[in-house]
């Protein structure tokens, strides 16, 4: 028997809601079908040069066409339980992980006021500007967010988030406080092992007007390699993003910095490696010509790493990306993208990486939302 409240919701939500008892359920999804390959003449000690695109799942392109590194699908279910309470679950399957469905997020939210929401559970970790919807490629212009900026494979936080949305007329935005714990694995790194972040406390805020948006994030945590809880290091992360929209032209730039007060062990297996600190960033420019949006991006990163036996070094990378997005359908976009990535590390690092100073990658894909 459907309740009266249910009828009201149903009348308003014709398209994709269904009624179960007195909860309204929304099901939405996203997917990317993308293929690519590297075009490079360099060789490393272990074979042709590769392009590492996804820190979370280890997606890597090589000189044979592959649909794995960038293809993925996601499903999100939101149950509106009434009285300001809702439950959200998100499942993602990445090509680089054999398309196995993984529970990305599962959390409940409560509206304390129309502009303040408290969430608890497993949620997105808002490190970078695009972190919260990184997998929803339809939502941004690139085929994938700059791989050398979006490096830290820490995607989820288990804990609490408090978000307040404000509107002062001339400017509006939000402020979020978050706290909890997270686990990550530097997939794609030789011999990667999990490392833990605990006692995470952070704040992220944004302020925007009609043509500009500014975002700032700052967090601290205790980070340690799986077996080294007693050797936990104080870690810090900061990020700044500025985005501008002038009619059909948009410009976005992001800068991030992380550091550990004592270098954190990344792996013990192949070669004991310690992560010290790093900076990364990009500037991207695009212009919308009707349904076509060409764009160009410059991204770079620099990470201080210590390799036992080899000493400290700085691994750095610079990438130029050129691409175009074509909105050929109301719910789908075609993306074509070319990256040229150059390893600009210290000689001591490249001695390990081999002769792959530069690797170019070409990829084409279609992003959907449904």
């Amino acid at each position: 028997m459907l309740s009266k409240k249910c009828y009201t919701f149903m009348a308003v939500a014709l398209a994709h809601a269904s009624c179960v008892n007195s909860a309204v359920i929304d099901l939405n999804g996203f997917a990317s079908v993308t293929g690519g390959m590297t075009i490079s003449e360099g060789e490393t000690a272990s074979g042709p040069a590769t392009y590492f695109v996804d820190g979370s799942h280890g997606g890597t392109y090589d000189d044979e066409v592959s649909f794995r590194p960038d293809s993925l699908y996601g499903l999100q279910i939101i149950a509106d339980l009434g009285s300001g309470l809702s439950a959200t679950g998100q499942i993602v399957g990445a090509g680089a992980n054999d398309f196995n469905a993984e529970f990305n997020w599962a959390f409940i939210s409560y509206e304390l006021t129309p502009n303040t929401k408290l969430s608890a559970g497993r949620m997105g970790y808002p490190l970078y500007y695009y972190s919260d919807f990184l997998n929803v490629r339809y939502a941004y212009h690139w085929l994938r967010a700059p791989a050398d900026t979006y490096t830290l494979p820490i995607n989820e936080i288990e804990g609490l988030k408090l978000r307040h949305r404000y509107d002062l007329g001339a400017v509006n935005g939000d402020v979020q406080l978050f706290a909890g714990a997270s686990e990550s694995e530097l997939n794609g790194f030789p011999g990667a092992e999990p490392f833990h972040h605990e006692n995470i406390v952070g704040i992220v805020g944004s302020i925007a007007n009609e043509w500009a948006e500014l975002r700032l994030v700052s967090l601290v945590a205790d980070t340690y390699h799986e077996d080294d809880e007693e050797l936990a290091s104080d870690s810090e992360f900061y990020g700044l993003t500025a985005k501008f929209q002038f009619g059909s032209l948009f410009v976005i730039g992001e800068l991030t910095h992380f550091e550990f007060d004592t270098p954190v062990t990344v792996t013990r297996n192949v070669l004991p490696t310690f992560l010290d600190e790093g900076d990364s960033g990009y500037v991207s420019l695009g212009y919308a010509f009707g349904a076509w949006t060409p764009h160009v991006t410059f991204s770079a990163r620099e990470t201080a790493i210590t390799y036992t036996g080899f000493g400290s070094t700085e691994a750095s990378n610079e990438t130029v990306t050129v691409g175009v997005r074509w909105d050929f359908h109301p719910s789908a976009a075609l993306k074509i993208e070319y990256n040229s990535s150059e390893d600009t590390s210290d000689d001591s690092f490249t001695a390990l990486a081999g002769d792959a100073y530069e690797v170019d990658t070409f990829a084409v894909g279609v992003d959907f939302v449904f």
Partner: protein, 142 residues
């Protein structure tokens, strides 16, 4: 004779102008008991999920048309300042990051009137010539 000729000419010119003006005008409507006065900025923010209350603090729930409806595209362009793909990308960002859900969608102006006339918290838009006494106009867009 002259006056009649001019009247006919005047009518013809008016008809010509009217037929050239494809965009006949939109009206933003609310429940008749809603006493809020709103400007374009407030309406835009409600439809983009940047605020969820009317100026008097009461809850504001926007209603949109389904994808493919011509008025939806015009509203997106002229009021929200976004093309349809831009609007879809914008809502994808909010929806999949758990920050908000897009406005509920209906198919016809009659549905908008039926809903808005029954609920003081709803906000909708219609072609200007579809407005009747069951709803109250808060803003007209030419």
């Amino acid at each position: 004779m002259m006056v009649r000729g001019l009247t006919i000419l005047g009518a013809a010119v008016t008809l010509l102008i009217a037929s050239l003006n494809c965009f006949a005008g939109m009206a933003i409507v609310v429940h008749p008991s809603n006493t809020n006065s709103m400007d374009m900025d407030v309406i835009t923010k409600i439809y983009l999920g940047k605020r969820s209350t009317f100026p008097d603090g009461s809850k504001a729930i926007p209603i949109d048309f389904e994808q493919g409806a011509e008025l939806r595209a015009e509203f997106a362009k002229n009021v929200l300042g976004k093309s349809e793909p831009q609007l879809k990308s914008y809502w994808s960002q909010l929806l999949f990051s758990g920050k908000g859900v897009p406005p509920r969608q209906v198919r016809t102006p009659d549905e908008v009137k039926a809903l808005v006339s029954q609920n003081p918290n709803l906000l909708g838009y219609l072609p200007s010539d579809e407005v009747d006494e069951t709803v109250k106009v808060v803003l007209e867009i030419q």
